[in-house]
Amino acid sequence: MKRKPRFTRSQRMTIATGILFIVVIIIILQLWLFTATMNAFLGGDTAILWPAAIASLVCLGLNGGLLWYLYGLEK
């Protein structure tokens, strides 16, 4: 017997829209981080490279987690 999804389709649509907005905001943050890091790197300031890379990877992990959650809703 097929298990019913946890949320209705309209609810999943709302969740997907919310996740989409969060992902867009995170990507804008990553874009800002990237340009700031590039400016620092070209100016010879390398102290920021590791923290910026870790922050960017955390953002990527968040985005991946959100997508994983979205796929999980359909099971």
């Binding site: 997907a16 992902v23 995170i26 400016n39 790197f41 010879g44 590791w50 910026a52 890379a53 990527l60």
Partner: protein, 182 residues
């Protein structure tokens, strides 16, 4: 049938019941809400690639920094004899030999300054105007202070990399490169 089950049914784009749809749509139904949901999900998946690209760029900075650190510091290099550079004149040189062009400017009898010649905005060559104490980038009207190399006007936000100089035995000698963010 529960309410949740009814939401799983195919819904045509115009929202009317399946029986009211034209024959072709009955044969090839399009589930509009499901279609929108899937396109949104696929868009999020694409954005994840964008996010991964930014992270890859950040990691590339680390790799580039690692490679730069492995390069040896350039050895001091004689640029010109002091007598060969009159006050108010400039000279283009390369330091180290395979680097982009650098600019040596003699401000007065005692003072020499040297910077990379590429504007920090879009790498156009900058031109010294010793009389007004500025370096001018003609591409987008960027202006740098000749004494410090810091941006004064226009799009550049980063100072020009400075070449540190010494006077040894009547020669101007480049001893290092100093990149700066402010």
């Amino acid at each position: 049938m529960t309410n949740q089950d009814s939401e799983q049914l195919t819904v045509p784009p115009d929202g009317r019941s399946p029986a009211e749809q034209p024959r072709w749509r009955q044969d090839f139904p399009i589930d509009w809400p499901q279609d929108e949901y899937l396109s949104r999900r696929e868009f999020i998946k694409f954005l994840l690639l964008t996010s991964a690209a930014f992270s890859t760029g950040q990691l590339w900075f680390l790799v580039a920094d690692f490679l730069q650190r492995r390069e040896a510091v350039p050895a001091p290099q004689v640029i010109a004899a002091v007598a060969d550079v009159p006050v108010g004149s400039s000279l283009i040189f390369k330091y180290p030999a395979d680097s982009p062009a650098r600019l040596l400017v003699r401000l007065d009898e005692e003072t020499f300054v040297a910077y990379e010649q590429q504007c920090t905005h879009l790498t156009c060559p900058v031109i010294p105007h010793v009389d007004v104490g500025e370096l001018h980038c003609p591409c987008h009207e960027g202006v740098f202070d000749l004494l410090t190399g810091r941006p004064l006007a226009g799009p550049p936000r980063r100072p020009l990399a400075r070449v540190t100089l010494e006077i040894r035995d009547g020669n101007v000698v480049a001893t290092g490169i100093q990149k700066r963010t402010v």
